[in-house]
Symmetry: C2
Subunit: 258 residues, 2 copies
């Protein structure tokens, strides 16, 4: 295979005439990090590789971009193929990865997307159980579960992104159902940020402002330990302009080591 490459020491030369087919060709893929909350912990949907390099290892679902679709459409299609869910609004692009040799077969540049689902328990059941699984994100982050390619780094970046999105967007409501208690929503923040939030203060931040949540009038059934039943809410319309809960600026460790 022969490739021709130009070095533009002068801009005019770089943009000058050329034959497009002479430039290095890449395969472009889209990988989707699918997150959900299950039993109070953040989980990620992984698929087991059937063949090729890293055979048998777990990986993020993904696939090749088609020439006649946008990157967003490719991500949406991949999400639908893997989970059957059509939720384009939850898809967020967070990074591109093109290190040489990240795929031993060829030059592949992949674009990472983040998807948040409410409950993928049935989704995983619908797929071949041997081929897809929900695993705690912590197992991926700490290396307990090794992923194919550079997917561990991609997951790390996705988690970092969702931590930021949690503060500035309404992505938190994507983790819970159509109706939810404030305790459920609080668990989302606590699991993703790894913090403890005061239930009373959390409630005040949410209900005080405009319309983050809308009470439905119904109440959730208390857990096995009893307790006062919590009110059920549905998402309001204020989430489009920033989130109500903010991470406290760490005033604890000053001069700490990064």
């Amino acid at each position: 295979m022969v490739m021709v490459m130009m070095t533009n020491t002068t801009p005019a030369a770089a943009l000058a005439t050329y034959d497009p087919s002479l430039f290095p060709a890449f395969a472009v893929t889209v990988d989707v990090v699918i997150l959900t909350m299950s039993e109070g912990t953040l989980q990620i949907l992984l698929v087991r590789r059937g063949e090729g390099p890293y055979e048998g290892m777990w990986a993020i679902p993904g696939g090749f971009k088609r020439p006649n679709e946008t990157l967003d459409e490719a991500a949406k299609r991949e999400l639908a193929e893997e989970t059957g869910v059509d939720a384009a609004s939850l898809l967020t692009q967070f990074g591109a990865y093109g290190d040489p040799g990240r795929d031993p077969r060829m030059n592949v540049v992949t674009v990472g997307y983040l998807a948040v689902l409410r409950d993928v328990g049935s989704v995983v059941a619908g797929t071949d159980a041997a081929e897809a699984a929900l695993v705690p994100v912590s197992d991926v982050l700490n290396g307990t579960l090794e992923l194919a390619f550079d997917h561990q780094r991609i997951v790390r970046d996705a988690i970092e992104r969702v931590r930021v999105e949690l503060e500035v967007t309404g992505i938190a409501t994507a983790f819970v159902g159509t109706t939810f208690t404030l305790a459920e929503l609080r668990t989302v923040y606590e699991a993703i940020w790894g913090v403890q939030l005061d239930a009373a203060n959390f409630r005040r931040s949410i209900v005080a402002d405009d319309d983050w949540v809308i009470p439905t009038g119904r109440r959730a059934r208390p857990g096995p330990a009893g307790g006062r039943p919590a009110e059920l809410y549905r998402p309001g319309k204020a989430w489009s302009r920033g989130g109500p809960i903010h991470r406290l600026h760490r005033t604890d460790e000053k001069g700490a080591n990064p």
Copy 2:
């Protein structure tokens, strides 16, 4: 200058379980949005296209990614080729763009990078003046200056990114010199966020906390209008964990129409 490079992919092809050529091939480019502050306004470095599609129009500098370099390295190389500046730390990837037809010649997926320079006046002078120019970002955002390809959207995304980075990172210090006055630094925030900041409060936010800035003991020469000379500072080490200045959450329009 044109270089012809041959890449032998025979060993890799032997590893593959399928023929890579069966998958759609894309050209992958890296486009760099180079920003700087000049005369109190945010400026962007643009190059004029010599020929090909959009001939004669202004565009973001960029070029093809090489198979043996990472995306970050490609961006760093493009920045060095355009400006002669070797400043990898300021390079931030902010998005990938792969809409079909964004380049009429072929399928091109580009990865956008953001670069912040202290002063590119000499840089532009070093390049052919007819081929590169610094223009106010506002001219690009409001459509006064039309860019080639989908570069206007890319610039929009880059500006939105730098507005966020300004709040959570130390990118503000990249706009000013190695030593600077607080008024200079304040101008960076005011220009990018489009707000007016009280000089006294700005100062208090900066000097009160740990070590955002370190006084050098020297003083800047007052401007032509006179005034008390401002103290010169150099960046401290606290910027690595968030910025000191925060955008006020707009409490003005409540219940506004989205």
